[in-house]
């Protein structure tokens, strides 16, 4: 009888704790981080444009599904003001996107992460920006990553992703760092030692897809600071023999701007599966750089 009473007491106790656990799970479900941002946006719109406009704001998880790129970007769950006029000066995450670039790269056709990096699947800030996430290789290319790797112009890192589609452009509007790097590649005649896109010499490594090399491929024994592919390239362009004493590559005495630009360029050289409609048509003039081999198309 004692055992029976003890069992009944245990059933009530475990049942009560299970109820509490269920309650916590529901509470967690109804209070996600993005709801705070959505209500903040509603407040902002009510303040600036009135309650009627605020009613037009969608609620719940929002996403851009780009079938051609096989990408889903849920960034717009919090970044609700990307296409709103009059929010150019709003604080993030509500600020409107510069409209010029959106005209050529509409949100519906490109989404966000193809350019900005980050984890489009995610619905919380930490996972979405992925700057500290252990298991996402493409973090949001912005200030935080730039500062961690001590680059000269952190915000310019975004241009790495411009060059995924614009690899064969001689010059890309708005991608000044990438353009500068392409200019250096021509001036310094890198193809005298390196093969890129099937052209050039094999005195140095083939660089055609150097951007997709695993971070563990590099030797960090002589690289100061954080161990990362970008850190290795930055140190290597600064002075190749500092990083690899056996290297045949001469020291070009590149400054921080050149180092960052060239690092960004080589990190953009990756194998990508893009629909042909996403690759800009070749321009007649000026002539493409040596790396732009037609065979690569």
């Amino acid at each position: 009888m004692v055992a029976k009473n003890r069992d009944v007491a245990l059933i009530y106790a475990f049942g009560a704790i299970l109820l509490l656990v269920t309650g916590w799970i529901y509470w967690d479900y109804y209070r996600p981080e993005w709801k705070t941002y959505q209500s903040g946006f509603r407040g902002l719109i009510t303040g600036r444009f009135g309650a009627e406009r605020a009613q037009q704001i969608p609620s719940g998880i929002q996403q851009i599904w780009v079938a051609e790129l096989n990408r889903v970007d849920r960034c717009v769950t919090c970044h609700l003001g990307l296409e709103w006029e009059g929010l150019e000066d709003a604080p993030n995450p509500y600020r409107a996107h510069p409209p010029g670039i959106l005209r050529k790269h509409p949100l519906a056709g490109y989404g966000c992460t193809i350019c900005h990096g980050g984890q489009g699947f995610a619905t919380d800030v930490e996972s979405a920006h992925a700057t500290g996430a252990l298991h996402w290789e493409e973090p949001l290319l912005a200030g935080e990553i730039g500062r961690a790797n001590q680059v000269e112009e952190p915000k310019a890192l975004l241009q790495i992703n411009c060059n995924i589609c614009h690899r064969y452009d001689a010059q890309t509007e708005g991608a000044d760092y990438i353009n500068y790097a392409k200019q250096i590649v021509q001036e310094k005649r890198c193809v005298l030692c390196h093969k890129v896109n099937g052209q050039g010499s094999l005195l140095g490594p083939d660089l055609t897809y150097v951007g997709e090399q695993s971070p563990e491929h590099y030797d960090y024994a002589r690289v100061p600071g954080k161990q990362s592919s970008i850190g290795w390239h930055l140190a290597h362009f600064h002075n190749p023999k500092d990083v690899a004493p056996q290297s045949l590559m001469p020291n070009f005495n590149f400054g921080p701007r050149e180092t960052q630009a060239l690092t960004m360029l080589v990190m953009s050289w990756k194998r990508t599966r893009l629909p042909s409609s996403y690759i800009p048509p070749p321009k007649a003039a000026p002539p493409p750089p040596a790396e732009a081999a037609p065979a690569e198309r």
């Binding site: 069992d7 656990v21 699947f121 619905t123 996972s127 298991h135 161990q227 970008i230």
Partner: protein, 438 residues
């Protein structure tokens, strides 16, 4: 006042059988409970004898079935969509993280609990026949060993499904161990993977094995396992009561006939069981067994739920055959094998002794073989059946415990002490940060 009492009674829904017949009838008439005995010994009910590990593993299988069926509506078993569908479950599906987490924790717990259940049965000599006629506990032990192996396979096949780096490389390690088997190794791996590489063929095979074939097998074996327990007169500890009674020279009790299916075609189906003085040692299963069962169900669900909340379910980068994860590890329950493989790979000059054969095939093969035949080799007395650390089984119990301890130590070393490049790190040493892209 009377009306209030009635409402209160209705609310708390109590039911008290007025006779033992009514109590037994409630078990036999109930679809969910009919496979229980109508009376059960106090010893079988106790936590200290069985720790209710077998029941807990069945409950975990239930949790896995329910969560698994819901996950089947959400998961897409294709190389292109599998990873993305898991990400969707994690981030966009209502309660998806909990569903996936509970399924994952439930699977890990089930492996652990089924293993502990087997350890318990061995240490108590639960596989030994007692005094009742027509017992065949050794057969039930063999069914149990197959259930343990099926549980491992169920968990292993589920491991690949997220199609992330963790999954891909764990299955690579696991199937490469199979490759080391002599003569049939290559064919086994080919059959398992549906090819020579881990690709769509492997994913769909693992998916069907995981969702259809293995659960059906476990369900059938589970039914057989339970049926045999009833046929064998319940847990082995009940036999000790009968033996005690014989020693006590108590006045003979009425021979009992247990009716399993009631009267069918004017003939009674008999199940002979240990003849225990039920008035002294047993209690009606309703409500004693049903209450205890509810305690174990709630405790198991609660433990699994709390662990799901506390332990985050990892999802690494999408599977990439070109980049080996560092270190590449098999699932934790096979890490003792991977550790054995690593430790038995010996290079002498230009010669390499293949560790996968010794650690991955021979050692586990011998262990499973021994497990299967052990009840027939165990010649200890009937007094050691259903009793913890039976006195004339001490040698085999010690050897068994040493093997269990070795497996646990190797598992712990493999899980917590093998860091990048399979380097050995003490628990107080931090693993070096692996380089990242940015």
């Amino acid at each position: 006042m009377a009306a209030e009492k009635t409402i209160w009674k209705k609310l708390i829904w109590t039911w008290k059988p007025e006779s033992e017949f009514e109590a037994g009838d409630s078990i036999v008439r109930n679809l969910l409970l009919h496979w229980f005995p109508s009376k059960i010994t106090f010893r079988s009910l106790s936590y200290r004898y069985s720790f209710w590990l077998g029941t807990a593993s069945a409950i975990l299988f239930g949790i896995l079935t329910v969560t698994g069926v819901v996950l089947m509506f959400l998961y897409v078993p294709s190389v292109e969509r599998a990873y993305a569908s898991i990400k969707d479950i994690e981030f966009a599906v209502a309660f998806g993280w909990f569903l996936r987490g509970l399924h994952r924790i439930g699977a890990h717990l089930m492996v652990a609990v089924v293993f502990l259940h087997a350890v318990r049965v061995f240490l108590t000599g639960g596989y030994k026949n007692g005094v009742a006629a027509n017992q065949n506990r050794p057969l039930n032990w063999i069914i149990g060993v197959v259930l343990l192996l099926s549980t491992l396979l169920l968990s292993f096949t589920g491991y690949l499904l997220p199609w992330d780096q963790l999954a891909f490389w764990a299955i690579t390690v696991g199937t490469n161990i199979a490759l080391a088997a002599p003569v049939v190794g290559e064919q086994t791996r080919f059959l398992l993977l549906g090819g020579n590489t881990i690709a769509q063929g492997a994913l769909i095979r693992f998916y069907v094995l995981h969702c259809v074939f293995l659960p059906m097998l476990v369900l059938l074996l589970f039914a057989w396992h339970m049926w045999r327990i009833r046929k064998d007169g319940g847990l082995a500890c009940a036999d000790q009561l009968a033996l005690d009674q014989k020693q006590e020279k108590a006045p003979p009790i009425k021979s009992k006939t247990y009716s399993l299916l009631g009267i069918a075609g004017t003939r009674t189906v008999h199940v002979e069981a240990a003849l225990v003085d039920e008035d002294r040692h047993a209690t009606p299963a309703s409500p004693s067994l049903t209450l205890r069962l509810l305690v174990v169900i709630l405790a198991t669900v609660l433990l699994a739920s709390l662990m799901t909340i506390v332990v985050e379910a990892p999802l690494e980068e999408p599977a990439n055959p070109a980049v080996t994860s560092n270190p590449a590890k098999a699932p934790w329950y096979f890490l003792w094998l991977q550790e054995l493989v690593a430790d038995t790979t010996v290079r002498v000059g230009g010669l390499t002794l293949n560790g996968a054969l010794v650690g991955g095939i021979i050692v586990p093969g011998i262990l499973v073989g021994l497990l299967l035949v052990w009840p027939y080799l165990d010649r200890s007395s009937v007094r050691s059946a259903g009793i913890w650390f039976g006195s004339d089984r001490w040698r085999q119990n010690i050897v068994f415990l040493i093997i269990v301890l070795a497996i646990l130590i190797l598992t712990i070393v493999g899980t917590y002490m093998r860091g990048p490049y399979w380097g050995l790190y003490w628990p107080w040493e931090t693993w070096p940060d692996l380089p990242r892209k940015f």
